[in-house]
């Protein structure tokens, strides 16, 4: 028993410094746990803070009117609380944003991961990340003072063309804002696809394009979906660009040349005005906020499901 090699280890573990090391380890563990708890608690706090005024709101306005009404004039003398115009405005701007961001972002990612040399990639990726850091208010003014006048000048489609405030410019510029997110995350996903697969596909006589579309993109689908969902979340939650460029009037329409107010733009506008605590205007803010929260939550759940479904595990 005396020759048991484990004796050595045991005596080390009970040696000098052991108790102080254990104390330090314990402290680190506690600090980290506190950080984790704090973030969970904050989230719960936000949900509760949203929920209380929202519940109060729904004691005054029926959820059916809120969710199916087509008129949104909560601050008028004879108020209407149909949130649909705000929801469609969010959907319209998001649609145009994705129309720009997905093809360009994916194209950029495919170029960087499949075609560009190492040097190009090294220069491009940080550039993209800088683009992602431009404050959104700058994008908003870009939409209002540059893109809208440009679109009005070159408009050739039937109709009057975009108005001063319109969903189209806001959506398109929002798309530009999101490109780096889509490109960077998709590029990460595509670069993670093992080169073995590319070589295998090339050896079967695939062209570079076929390798990208039939092997790399399907293999990276999970990451590309995650990037897309993050893009959608950012578009739905984006406030500054739509507040500056899309206008401040609730408008139930799918025509992107018209001004319209998104959910976020309403919250920003209403929060800037004086809404006495407990007033219906104050509670409206929270009701729209809760709706936005629920929409984003559902999207996140769907995206986690999708990402799991398409995840490929390489050894």
């Amino acid at each position: 028993m005396a020759a048991d090699p484990h004796d050595f280890d045991v005596s080390m573990a009970t040696g000098i410094g052991w108790s102080s090391r254990r104390l330090r380890e314990g402290l680190v563990r506690r600090v980290l746990m506190a950080a984790a708890l704090l973030s969970v608690a904050t989230t719960i706090g936000i949900v509760v803070a949203l929920a209380v005024p929202t519940v109060q709101f729904f004691t005054r306005v029926s959820p059916v009117e809120f969710l199916t009404g087509t008129e949104w004039t909560p601050l008028f003398a004879s108020p209407h609380f149909g949130v649909l115009p705000l929801v469609t405005a969010t959907a319209v701007t998001t649609f145009w944003a994705l129309l720009v961001a997905l093809p360009l972002g994916l194209g950029c990612a495919a170029y960087l991961s499949e075609y560009a040399g190492r040097r190009t990639r090294k220069i491009f990726k940080p550039l993209l990340e800088i683009l992602a850091g431009v404050p959104t208010v700058v994008y908003g003014f870009f939409a209002l003072t540059f893109l809208t006048p440009l679109l009005r000048d070159i408009w050739i489609l039937p109709g009057k063309g975009p108005q001063i405030y319109n969903a189209l410019s806001a959506g398109l510029v929002m798309g530009i804002m999101i490109i780096p997110t889509v490109a960077s995350l998709s590029e990460d996903a595509m670069s993670a696809v093992p080169d073995d697969l590319r070589a295998g596909a090339r050896a079967l006589g695939s062209t570079a394009r076929q390798v990208t579309t039939r092997v790399t993109i399907p293999a990276a689908l999970s990451g590309i979906i995650a990037a897309t969902m993050l893009a959608v979340s950012r578009a739905v939650g984006e406030t500054m660009i739509v507040a500056v460029a899309a206008g401040g009037t609730a408008n139930l329409s799918l025509d992107p040349t018209e001004p319209m107010q998104t959910m976020t733009a309403f919250i920003a506008a209403a929060a800037l005005g004086d809404q006495p605590t407990g007033s219906i205007g104050y509670q409206t803010l929270f009701a729209v906020g809760s709706l936005l929260f629920v929409i984003t939550l559902i999207m996140n759940i769907v995206s986690i499901r999708l990402v799991r479904r398409y995840r490929e595990v390489y050894e």
């Binding site: 040399g117 093992p194 073995d196 697969l197 070589a199 295998g200 596909a201 090339r202 050896a203 079967l204 006589g205 695939s206 062209t207 076929q210 039939r214 092997v215 399907p218 293999a219 490929e312 595990v313």
Partner: protein, 305 residues
């Protein structure tokens, strides 16, 4: 089995770039006669499919392998053996222009495929790879179903197939995998064992009906039973295909190949780096009994004990 029905100038072997031909006229894969063991190998290949003359391959200015002069005969198995780093994989990749994908890789000398310069100006590497397929050391199935893995090649090459199911079944049968997977063709390829994955990769390669199959240490990641299955399958495939296999396993080379090329490494006096060099090419029986080069003999006897 008659060779007369497929003349040398078969249009399906045309490599020029305009019309990438689907190899639809290749003979059916099923109903082959297993390769007889202990068959006699003629002194020189009767019909040369790939002729390699005085080839050297460089990565930038570094000569990875030189002195390559080999003739790969139709329906023969040729093994490339030699110590690690002697350029076997590099040489193999030169035979279907996979080296084109490595920046800085270049080649001197001549490689011709059925009388055409493989590196000629009008030759399309995509077409080359459709005629000369490749199986890699590590099984690399696509993250798709078993069926879609096999159907991948025919689909991307636009091969005109009357019935894809038949193509998939034939290829899997030839790769000795059909019985194991016929009930789960729609399942994900990653669910297969390593040996099954490698046979799937072989099925995927022969599904496009290539003329030549290159294999880079196809069994090195596999257990002995999977290896035995693949070896047997290769000898069967050799009734249809010209096979070139890189192997570290000399018993394997001795068991299955008709001819063997032996490579070694030598220190380049100018750069001080180790370059690969092809030393000897002959019938496998001769290489393993009475090699004409001392270096071959040393390597072979050293390895055997």
């Amino acid at each position: 089995m008659s060779d007369a029905d497929e003349p040398m100038a078969d249009p399906s072997h045309e490599l020029a770039d305009q019309d990438r031909p689907a190899a639809a006229e290749a003979p059916p894969l099923a109903g082959r006669i297993p390769r007889a063991t202990g068959r006699t190998v003629p002194d020189a290949p009767e019909e040369i499919v790939i002729n390699v003359a005085d080839v050297a391959i460089y990565y930038g200015s570094f000569c990875a392998v030189g002195g390559l002069t080999v003739q790969f005969g139709r329906r023969e198995i040729t093994a490339l053996i030699g110590p690690s780093g002697c350029g076997k994989s590099t040489a193999l990749r030169a035979f279907n222009r996979m080296n084109d994908l490595i920046p800085g890789a270049r080649l001197t000398g001549s490689v011709s495929y059925r009388g055409q310069d493989l590196y000629g100006p009008r030759v399309d590497p995509i077409t080359v790879r459709r005629r000369i397929g490749m199986v890699f050391q590590k099984p690399n199935p696509f993250p798709k179903s078993i069926y879609d893995n096999v159907a991948y090649g025919p689909r991307v090459t636009g091969m005109k197939v009357p019935n894809m199911d038949d193509v998939v079944e034939e290829a899997l049968t030839s790769a000795a995998l059909w019985d194991e997977v016929k009930d789960k063709l729609r399942q994900h390829a990653f669910g297969l064992s390593g040996g099954q994955q490698q046979r799937l990769c072989i099925a995927r390669t022969i599904a496009v009906r290539p003329d030549v199959v290159l294999m880079d240490e196809p069994c090195s990641a596999l257990d002995p039973i999977s290896t035995a299955k693949i070896e047997y399958m290769m000898t069967e495939l050799a009734d249809e295909y010209t096979i070139i296999i890189v192997t570290h396993n000399m018993q394997q080379a001795a068991r299955i190949s008709d001819r063997t090329a032996f490579f070694t490494t030598e220190v380049d006096d100018a750069t001080g780096r180790r370059s690969g060099l092809m030393v000897e090419f002959d019938r496998t029986a001769k290489i393993f009994s009475t090699p004409s080069d001392q270096r071959t003999e040393d390597y072979i006897s050293g390895k055997f004990g």
